[in-house]
Amino acid sequence: MTSTEPATGRVAPALTTSGFLRAPFAPATYHGVAQVVVGWLWALTAGLPVMIVVVTAAALVPVLGLGLLVLPPALALARAFGGAERARLAAQTGAVVPAPARRRPGGPHWVTRLWAASSDPVGWRATAYAVVALLLTSVYLVFVVAMAAGAVGGVVLAARFLLGGGDAGPLATAAGTILLLVAVVVALWLAACCAQAGTLTIVRLARTLLGPSAAAQARAAQALAESEARVAESAAAAATERADVLSETRAAALEAADTERRRIERDLHDGAQQRLVALGVTLGTARRVAEREPAAAVDALEQAHGEVKETLAELRDLVRGIHPAVLSDRGLDAALSALAARSPVPVRVEASGLEAAGTTAQAAAYFVVAEALTNVAKHAGASVAHVRAAVVPEGAAGSGPVLRVEVTDDGRGGAGTAPGGGLAGLRGRVAALDGTFDLTSPADAGTRLIVELPCAS
């Protein structure tokens, strides 16, 4: 469709654009003449035999169905002729006619296959094209040749008038000469326009009979529209699903943050704050008994000193629980080693090349391992635990490199992510980063936790 306008402009400028005055000198005219000549020869030598074969085969159908055997190859021949004709037009005129759809498959049964082969519309339309093209090119060729010959003859006659030949006859007057020259010009223009019109007509005929049929084009357009609609629908469904996942993980992240805040509040309340109050009581006691019982006061002061040191240790732990300094200073590798060193259960750490992971992913990985090792120490009854951390090019869920952390132990298993528990909070934190969280903990068979976090996070 889109190629129609420029093609006609190139093929027949005299008829479709303002190229009328230049018509006899335009390249399109000589191409048109060549096209009509070649087209006529081709229609005569190839199109005509194809038509004869097809018509003969069709005529043989009533004769014991003999034609049914000949018709399919005859139509295939017509198809081939159509293809060759499209190629010729493309080469000679530059007008590209789209190829029609491939032959429709028949059915499973041989009768339906035979029927499909015998009624192939592409073959029949190519046959019709052969007939019409032969007639049209013949007419155009005759007309162009006649006009050109007339023009040449007129020029020869006029030359004889002007040279004043002896038997010039009654028309050899000045007026007659001018009239003759006008006729020559008109013939020349008519021949040129006719040559261009011939090509234009043939191209349009080819578009109609050799291209895809209107119904096929409509079907193709509909199929395209349907597939675009399906793509849009599935994109919309994917977007909705993504939105659902995001609102879920956002809620989980908020909950995880909330749980974390409550944990910090509880740690501060049950820990440092209580210790400081107790310290105040102990120091107050020491002051009150200092004069009466100096020995008791010294005891109380020693007690207070111990409490101060314990409070400091507890605050250090608490601060590490909020964000460990070693993670920011030395990276996840060192932070994991520090975690392993503090664990009462022996832990083997394999970690290297973790710099590719983002700081948020590293922090999440750290807390996953910290919580997992705490659980190992508290509940698993394990003799050894194993931490592996690595950046892998492609995660289980696809889409880019991930920081993969695996914590295994040989304990009693049975770990779960009960709501409100430490692992459940971490699961929310991991989900908020678009990570995956896979906990396998069968009874009496150890626990394996695999967490993957997108490096970009």
């Binding site: 509880r266 309340h269 049950d270 704050q273 209580q274 210790r275 400081l276 109050v277 107790a278 310290l279 105040g280 009581v281 102990t282 107050g284 006691t285 002051r287 009150r288 008994v289 019982e293 008791a296 109380a300 409490e307």
Partner: protein, 219 residues
């Protein structure tokens, strides 16, 4: 005196026990409210002179201590109770003081670190007085429906100290003025608020708290 303490933090329980023992009291400690209630309601067990309880204790770490205190006061209205709380809330105070204010105290736990103040509160509550944390008093004053604009700033200070349950002598010490000046302020305040003059410190606290509508949230 015989004192029972319910406090889940071992450290603080130890500290308070040692402090009160060094002051010559007999002390029994419990780690949970349930354990404490069971011990005090067992048949044949004499009631202590004072119960000191934390609000937040296992198992739920919310207000077990407060509920236990309210429950025990409903069984024994004469039991002196001093409630220690991580956060003081007018609402908690209102629940605690709803059934009477005699021999009842409600203070911020952090105040325990000021040992002298704590021992003073212990003595006042055991003696049947009322101790209300200054923070609760300021909350009550801030939410009072009454207009306190008639009171001078000094009178408002005195009113706050009265609401905390302090005696005239204690108020005089705190404001570094003479007892006569405090008595003049108290008389002025009571007349401005339209309350009857009363020499009894406890009845006066009750009147002030009632006037300030401590229990407003419960009605």
């Amino acid at each position: 005196m015989r004192i029972v303490i319910a406090e889940d933090s071992v450290l603080l329980l130890d500290g308070l026990t040692r402090l009160l023992q060094s002051e010559g009291h007999e002390v029994t400690g419990h780690r949970t409210a349930e354990e404490m209630v069971a011990a005090l309601t067992a048949p044949g067990v004499p009631l202590p002179d004072l119960l000191v309880t934390d609000v937040r204790m296992p198992p739920s770490h919310t207000d077990e201590g407060l509920r236990a205190a309210v429950h025990l006061r409903s069984l024994h209205p004469d039991l002196a109770v001093l409630v220690l709380s991580q956060y003081v809330e007018q609402r908690y105070a209102a629940e605690l003081f709803a059934a009477g204010t005699r021999g009842l105290g409600y203070v911020l736990k952090d105040r325990v670190a000021d040992v002298d103040e704590f021992l003073d509160a212990v003595g006042r509550v055991e003696g049947g007085g009322t101790v209300l944390d200054p923070e609760v008093v300021s909350q009550v004053l801030a939410r009072s429906r009454h207009d306190l604009a008639d009171l001078t700033p000094r009178e408002r200070d005195v009113l706050a100290l009265m609401a905390e349950g302090r005696s005239n002598t204690a108020i005089a010490d705190r404001l570094v003025v003479g007892p006569a000046a405090v008595e003049k302020h108290v008389t002025n305040i009571l007349s401005k608020l339209g309350l009857p003059p009363d020499a009894d410190a406890h009845r006066r606290v009750l009147a002030v708290l009632r006037w300030l509508d401590l229990n407003g949230d419960l009605r």
